[in-house]
Symmetry: C2
């Protein structure tokens, strides 16, 4: 409804694409820590895409990268995270609104506004008789919202960094691990905070968080950051605005809480919807923990952990299976039933909400959908395509590209693992079943093979890697095609 | 819109459930051909469900069944086929309408009718001023439609049987196979015709149609029956009515062609929709043939066939992957990419239509959806649940039930094969990857194992078999939950 001639899809597309290219070139130019590592461009492009789209798959060993490369990937995750991007979009809108006011005549802008916003609010406004003041109110709301998100974002990064650093300094077992690997404590704390809050999933250790599987405190702490940075962001944001309203009585804050639809910010929802979305997040987590613990309690995947550490690991995995993608255990040891549920969780967009849709509610939804259609005509319609069908096509293409390996090495290159990797890339999650030479040698004992601590994608052909990079970018921009999970809401 | 107090879902549910139980008991009572075979009830229940729901998975060797048991499964497929069931539903509706007219006062029925049918047609009728004659017209339309379908059904069975018998008598290679197995030619011709037209997928040979892989004529001939009996039924039905209209000028026939929505028969569609549905069927077939031939041309799956036989086999598989489920080749040898596409085809309901939805069309759809909601209130709402989610749950439960085998024998009990079997049951298709002892012995050379020529499901535990039987029944009744593929139409 802001007078803009460029569709938001293209803005985000170029934002991601240009930073992606720039990041990959920067990673190529910088020297890796291990002088033996001659990074190939396809791997650096993959890493840059993976960091920027907060996917977290990697085709190189993280410990062989230099500190400067690590910092670059950290910054890529920082600018690619959902909270940061949504904050930028709010600032863009306030900026554009001011420009629009200067250039376009008042009458014109009021008319277009009248046309695009839904009729109920128009009537409300006409009744209140303050059309211009309403517009000003919304503008100042947007500004205030931007500031609130900025404070929210800074708060979690600072407290996250400090708490992480304190934990690493106090607990010797965690500190020793990092010292042994020669990783700076502050760098790790910074990186883990950024990665967790952005739901990036990259960690500068080869083993990701699996090396800290017994540091339950650290895991729990990252869980909070992961939730605050993505799936529970709407809940926390609403909570923050609500708390702020108690401190300072303010017209804008009240307006934001009462009619979040007017703001048109994806993460600001009505009370009811915030409730159902949070319930959905917690419900799926609870189910996953129950399933995982009941099926894999005595299995090798939890070897060497006591019951408390097992439960924390299960919780950590259940939180990370939606978007964050850090892993505290070896995914390839998880039993197939749980793996399937993880695939389902990875597929679910973070906006998925199961709510008992009432008749009146549903009508509103249809109204919204129509609105949405009006907004996205030419560009997004290209992208509107059943999501499941897209994934099937991606997986089939991946199977065609990797067909030789699927034939030779069916235990590692099982179709399930390929599906897992593709959906992990599509959902920007970054969990991976990895690759084990022991599985190859079960069928071909004569073959020589060295285990590598990176994602399964690292064993794919260059074409396969490029496909996954494309899928990650597509997945990051999927909200433009999926109507923000409304398909799920309507059907659920 | 017919005054009925029992929801159509319950009628079909009891129809299937009672015949299923009856069939399974009959199969238990009848003696198998092989006296060594002591059939267990779970297997006979599975077979009965599989035949009745026209799925075609089997957990016993078909050749060990006696002729009487074969005939019973044939009859079960006959009464379970889509054309037969839809014909019954038409006759039911005409019957009920007469009863309703006798019991319910005219005013009442007119009022309810006015409420339920969409407003456009109501206006039309009021304008034409012949409300009662309109109702009579629709009634006679239903009667005529029932007769047309009956003739259609009889025609394909008779010509199918005769042509099949002639082929078997003339071509020595086909005849010798059946003689060697001691199967009566006429019984085989009857069974193959019924099975193909009903899209049942059971064949009285252990190898299904794979033993006739070089009899391209027979395969092509069954392809026509398979298409006539399910996916292209709307096209053929419309063609038949259209041809009939040319022969005898008739008001009812014209009405059926002009306003098929008024008849409310699932397989009678508008011109445009018939066109798009047929295009969808042919397009998917064409894509599948191309994919299959280009990926597997020189592979073992086509061993010993010349190029013509390869193409016919690919065509046969592409037709059978949607609902019929007869196989002319060994599915476990198909490459993963094609297997994934087959899974997608099996998942697609036969009513799936990809059509470019126009604005005006879409509005009509929304209207229809609302109508539909009015019709299906309490019962079907239980079933309205995202279909993909249902399948994920079924697969996860299957993986939990078979978890020991998944661990021990990952090449046969791969998650992909489990998914394949569940979706095959859900889509009532009946293709199966089977089980190969050679794959087990690759990993465990010490284990003793005998290959069995039946579906992969035959190797599952009893709980797994019962789950699949439930999935088959659920799949047969899924049209009540999926809004007749409209979800696909709207999104595609
Ligand atoms: K991630
Ligand atoms: K079938």
């Amino acid at each position: 409804f802001v007078a803009s001639h460029v569709h938001p899809f293209w803005i985000q597309f170029f934002y991601f694409f240009i930073i992606d290219l720039f990041g990959s070139l920067l990673l190529m130019v910088l020297k890796p820590a291990d002088p033996d590592l001659k990074p190939r461009y396809v791997d650096m492009f993959f890493l840059s895409t993976s960091a920027l789209t907060v996917s977290g798959l990697s085709t190189v060993e993280m410990e062989r990268l230099s500190s400067s490369q690590i910092v670059v990937t950290g910054l890529l995750m920082l600018v690619g995270g959902e909270v940061f991007v949504s904050m930028l979009s709010v600032f863009c809108r306030t900026g554009k609104q001011s420009v629009a006011e200067l250039t376009i005549s008042r009458v014109n802008s009021v008319r277009t506004e009248l046309e695009t916003i839904d009729s109920v609010s128009t009537i409300e406004r006409i009744e209140s008789g303050t059309d211009i003041s309403f517009k000003d109110l919304r503008k100042s709301c947007l500004k205030l919202l931007g500031s609130v998100i900025l404070v929210y974002w800074v708060f979690f990064h600072v407290t996250g960094f400090v708490a992480c650093l304190v934990y690493l300094t106090i607990i010797p077992s965690a500190r020793e691990v990092l010292k042994g690997k020669g990783i700076n404590l502050a760098l790790f704390a910074f990186y883990a905070t950024v990665s967790s809050f952005a739901n990036g999933g990259l960690i500068p250790t080869n083993e990701n968080m699996a090396i800290f599987t017994k540091n339950s405190g650290l895991l729990l702490f990252l869980v909070a950051l992961v939730l605050a940075g993505n799936t529970l962001f709407p809940l926390f944001l609403r909570g923050a605005i609500w708390a702020l309203k108690y401190l300072v009585k303010n017209e804008e804050l009240e307006f934001m809480l009462k009619s979040p639809r007017e703001i048109k910010f994806d993460h600001l929802l009505t009370n009811l919807k915030t409730f159902f979305r949070s319930i959905t997040v917690l419900g799926i987590m609870g189910f996953m923990i129950t399933l995982f613990c009941s099926l894999d309690w005595g299995h090798p995947v939890f070897d060497g952990l006591n019951w408390y550490q097992k439960v924390v690991s299960a919780l950590f995995m259940s939180v990370n299976a939606r978007h964050a993608g850090e892993n505290s255990i070896d995914c390839s040891l998880i039993s197939p039933a749980v793996l399937l549920f993880i695939i389902f969780m990875m597929y679910l967009p973070s906006s998925a909400t199961f709510m008992p849709v009432k008749e009146s509610e549903e009508k509103k939804h249809i109204g919204e959908k129509d609105n949405f259609k009006g907004r996205n005509t030419s560009v997004a319609s290209m992208l509107i395509f059943p999501q499941v069908l897209c994934i099937i096509i991606f997986v089939i293409v991946a199977c065609i590209l990797e067909r030789r390996r699927l034939l030779l090495d069916p235990l590692n290159f099982s179709t399930l693992n390929v599906i897992f990797e593709v959906i992990s890339a599509y959902g920007n999650v970054g969990l991976s079943t990895g690759y084990a030479c022991s599985r190859l040698q079960k069928l071909h004992p004569e073959m020589i093979c060295t285990d590598k601590p990176y994602s399964f994608a690292g064993w794919w052909s260059d074409e396969g890697k490029l496909l996954l990079a494309f899928v990650m970018l597509y997945g990051r921009l999927k909200k433009f095609s999926e109507r923000n999970g409304k398909a799920w809401t309507l059907k659920g």
